[in-house]
Symmetry: C2
Subunit: 343 residues, 2 copies
Amino acid sequence: MAVTIKDVARKAGVSPSTVSRVLSNHPRISTETSQKVKAIMEQLGYHPNIMAKSLVSKTTNSICIMLPKSAEELFSNYFFMELIRGIVTQASRLGYDVLISSGANEKEEVEGVSRLLNGRRVDGVILLYSRTNDPVVDFLHENNHPFVLIGRSDQYPDILSVDTDNVQASYDATKHLISLGHERIGFVSGPPELVVSKDRLKGYMQALADAGLESHPEWIVEGEFLQESGYRAMSFFMNLPNRPTALVLIDDVVAFGILRGLHELKYNVPEDLCLVSFNNIPLSELSTPPLSSIDIGIYNLGYTASQVLIQSIKNNQDASYQKRQIIPHRLMIRESSIHSVRS
Amino acid sequence: MAVTIKDVARKAGVSPSTVSRVLSNHPRISTETSQKVKAIMEQLGYHPNIMAKSLVSKTTNSICIMLPKSAEELFSNYFFMELIRGIVTQASRLGYDVLISSGANEKEEVEGVSRLLNGRRVDGVILLYSRTNDPVVDFLHENNHPFVLIGRSDQYPDILSVDTDNVQASYDATKHLISLGHERIGFVSGPPELVVSKDRLKGYMQALADAGLESHPEWIVEGEFLQESGYRAMSFFMNLPNRPTALVLIDDVVAFGILRGLHELKYNVPEDLCLVSFNNIPLSELSTPPLSSIDIGIYNLGYTASQVLIQSIKNNQDASYQKRQIIPHRLMIRESSIHSVRS
DNA sequence: CTGAAAGCGCTTACAG
DNA sequence: CTGAAAGCGCTTACAG
């Protein structure tokens, strides 16, 4: 039997209401009473029942992270863990607990989120990805639930979101290669249903256009966030008659696949092919050669998402702040892209 | 205003008790009533309030993962995410939600766990690591809370735990090198306060002893689960007058650091130094050369931990099953250790 | 500054 | 098979 507010009240010779007020640091309580009650709580080993509190206060001080099943294969574990670390750290600082949930498919995801939100178990949710036409986003938006998207929504532009400016980031990566003299630049994209794939493709195209360079449809391939995709893209590119001299890659993991393939075929990076990728995972500076990569501040994305969501929960959806937060990115130039074509 | 059991009851013309019974599939309820009530629940969009249910049933159907702050730097993100995926998947299958918590230090960790457990917010906790003299373990054990350790406890041998047989695994790795003819084998360990470091060191020592090989104190270095540690260990070893020809490494990330250092100094793997490490993260087969590594089934460790904990919660700490579960490991031999010394 | 009372949304013996 | 009642542990107007 756990000790309750009543036990404390009895022992302290006050009413349960008073104990409750001491607990929440109610201003109109005498310092004397407060101290006495606190001492007794300590002595009895009292711990407030979070569920009971939640039931009456109609707030849970918890948020939920939705981890899409598909993500397990799509993205790197590193990416998600870093995001989670950021989310949990900031949530914890603001007094919130974090629930982590996943579904085997979109239907399960909606059901899970619905159960948690409608069942009053969490106050809001963080979505770690953005697909086009996402039923989870539809559900959350329609029912007016507090949520934040790490990424961008195609359909709902004024949704709460935290994102990289992927168009700009990709523009920067491509521009960097152009400035080295490359004129034939390829792009390995991610799954086309992800908004991030679209955005990065767009930035790439724009950079080419601004530089007056041609874009060839066969220089753009779609894949997954997997080494295999990189490997396959590599062998495709290397067999092209007029192949690119540089590549922009949707993810470091894809780059690793390319690096391995190139190594097997005895090609050299950056001499035979320059590479720039995204995410700047720690191993990207350890590969041979070290990989140029766009650091998107993953931890910061998670941290900010937490912050923004909890703020919105507390303000009850008050729209007084920025709906869309952009986390700055930074191109980390390493050996994989220091070879100038002009030289 | 959320729709409650009362609303459903009123609309269905039954009592709240009956609705509650329908909800929990109580056997003594007529199919007719049940169907009618279920239809109304659907129609009204009823969702049971998890907190209210929890309050009266005194069970939360949630478990908590304690993510130690120090882990953020010590272990690879990959390792933790994989563990979490396993935990969440199995918990979700068994109808449990997963809370993820962390603390900046041991004190905060104990406080967090205490708040969650005593506050009746979670039914049990999973610890992702094992230090010697861990106050969190002390707390959990003393208060008789359901918990499972992923790893091994020095002090409490009969605690619920899921682990790799690290002594055997390390023995296997070392033995593999010995079978290739190596006689001077070094070991790069992790932080000495972690039980895993001790166990792996022990297996290494045993394999040497069994083969009648000498063990040199200077062939054993301690570090962190970081690339830097590998890098430093590498430069230490390579400057030794009578240096090892092979190394057993506590973690793949350490191996990457070594690989990088060796590459910079123009040494070759496996010709100049053979390597075998632990964890078999996906990138280990992508490095140059691909890394021999012990696969410890990380996902399986998490999955099983979830299973075991929830079972123990449901059986109310019934001791009818194995207290310590061992997840099988497997040595993945790759290029980094295929060089025979005898050849 | 403090207490009595009602109530959050559910479950579960106890009757019938 | 179903209902009325009590209660889980807390909070919060309403009084005083």
